[in-house]
Symmetry: none
DNA sequence: CATGAATGAGTGTTCATTCAT
DNA sequence: AATGAATGAACACTCATTCAT
């Protein structure tokens, strides 16, 4: 039931998805929904929590590589971006839920998604801090702001890559994840002016 | 009536705002709403259209400065960012509507906000193209992608600066617009590694 | 709408009466109900409150007669009983609501009806106190208990007279109010052993 | 299971008590209920029937004493009232069910409780008839009415003694059963004017 | 221009009951 | 005997929209 609910929420939005549609798609009776979930809100929260877990797993496995040179750092970042994009691609519906419902919707839902985004930001923050310690990044930079910028970047990038500018669930990524990841990581470190 | 509707939409979200609340806040009768607007949807669309106009005005006035050096370019970008942040700060409710409802909500609403975002992206794109022509940026870069990245960046930055990570309408910007603009413009051109 | 609701509540009981039935009987749309009443519960509370008011008016007008002899007292009591019975007879539905829903039902409803019954009891209590002061009743009696007994008596009597033993809304009083009132007043003062 | 159901029905009322609550309190599965009882209604009916039996046993044992004088009669009545009050006190939940659900609720439930009340009334009626035959009561009195009045009296008295005016299940009797019984029996025979 | 009473389709949720195991 | 997952009809309440004044 959760898969079909996730799909419907992603396609039509949480408020526009009726319980009756979920149960119809899942081929169970209306009452059955309430055997498994306390309310409509509970299923989204649960969906988001599950998604958070998988997503954080990806992130925590991301930045493993360590190395001395700047290129190693770019490498590692590219790797993380790539992992995230791959995850996002195979979890389109989840990403839609996170990016779309997370912004509007009921307080409780917003709170749940915010946690996910904060977690991403903190992962970036830790990485920047480490890099500064290793003298790979200038210690003059405003770390929290930069972490924020990176989180924004990755979030927006995933969102646009997956759904295009119009948040269209049927939009197809126009370039491979690897290429995208490389471009963004490059921008991350070198900006518009390039290497 | 439009101001109070904008405020309510921003505070509670479009689907959670009832016509009855709007008219109550505007001190008119329920029927009066329908003398001014064809439907609930129409008022949002109209609200977004008005917002789009003002926002585009800001953008079009932004990149006026021309100049030969890279620093001129950074300057100009900082200026634009600054203008956008200032506009956003004095139009919090509009920005909330744009960033929040623009992602979820009905097709028509999403379409309206998408136009605004596309316009921003195109403004950046034109600027990058010009810079490449002037040999101020390497001609190897993927222009649409970079424009996209910039649009993402500015969008996410405004959103977080105004509302914090949790999309909280009562969040207060923690740093002055000017400082924020400078930091972001710097990142835009030089990336994490700095100038 | 209130009349038809009262009738339906009396006939079928509060929980068994659907809003849809009320509006159907009142020939208005479902939503109209909620224009006038906040909830299903609110209409009963209102109904009971109105009933309480009329009922208390009857009671307060009841014991007006004053007099020196015991027979005057019996007279006055008969008069009150008679007034109450007449009121009850022309407000069958209200009495049903009071006696039936007042005992079960939601806390709020029970509380509302309890007030009515307490008011009746206090009217009796004041009368007994006055009679004791005038030495028309022995000052050895337990006043609150006796007031309670009288309240019970009148309540039960009305209930059975109107609805029979089986709380049947279609039951018809088998004897005239006046006769009933006289019998009960007689019992009130002289008990089974009679005058 | 019946005990816990009785308790719950008394506490929350029949319609507000869910099967799920009964089985939860009885620590069995939902389906188990339907192995023991055909329906929710059936368990109440059964509960009432059991209660009726015990109650009638008390009543039939009540008026055993015979005697020539009026005081003997008052004695006997006091004894019966006392027995009833004691029974009621140790069967609070049952009494609540009888007095509360008996008035509202489904036809079948009302019918079941009515039987109990009719039985009480008939016990009183027989006693009055006997007393009239023995010339202990004037033969001018309206026997059925008086029986009715007595039934009302005892019913209301038990109800108020146990639950107070507000039908509060947690109310505690404020005076001992014996005292209460004596007072009521005295009123029964002598009325307000006393012996 | 404006009112506010009236509408009615729509929806989340409840809960007695069933039934395969 | 007992389980507990599954059912589905029922119901209170919401709210955008209409319309007679």
């Amino acid at each position: 039931m959760m898969d079909v609910a996730l799909k419907l929420f992603a396609q039509k939005g949480y408020p526009n998805t009726k319980i009756s549609e979920i149960v119809a798609a899942a081929n169970v009776a209306q009452g059955t929904f309430y055997w498994y979930f306390k309310s409509k809100q509970e299923i989204v929260i649960q969906l988001i929590a599950e998604g958070q877990e998988s997503l954080l797993k990806v992130i925590s496995q991301g930045y493993r590589k360590q190395g001395g040179t700047v290129e190693d750092m770019v490498q590692a970042s590219t790797q993380l971006m790539n992992d995230l994009l791959n995850f996002a691609e195979s979890n389109r519906h989840l990403m839609a839920l996170l990016f779309i419902e997370g912004k509007s919707g009921d307080e409780a839902i917003r709170k749940a998604t915010t946690e996910v985004l904060v977690a991403i930001e903190q992962a970036f923050r830790r990485n920047i801090e480490r890099a500064v310690e290793l003298n790979m990044l200038p210690n003059t930079i405003d770390i929290p702001l930069r972490a924020s910028i990176l989180a924004i970047l990755i979030e927006g990038m995933i969102s646009r890559w997956l759904f295009g500018t119009g948040y269209d669930l049927n939009h197809l990524p126009t370039r491979p994840a690897g290429e995208m990841a490389a471009e963004v990581a490059r921008f991350e470190f070198y900006g518009l002016l390039g290497s």
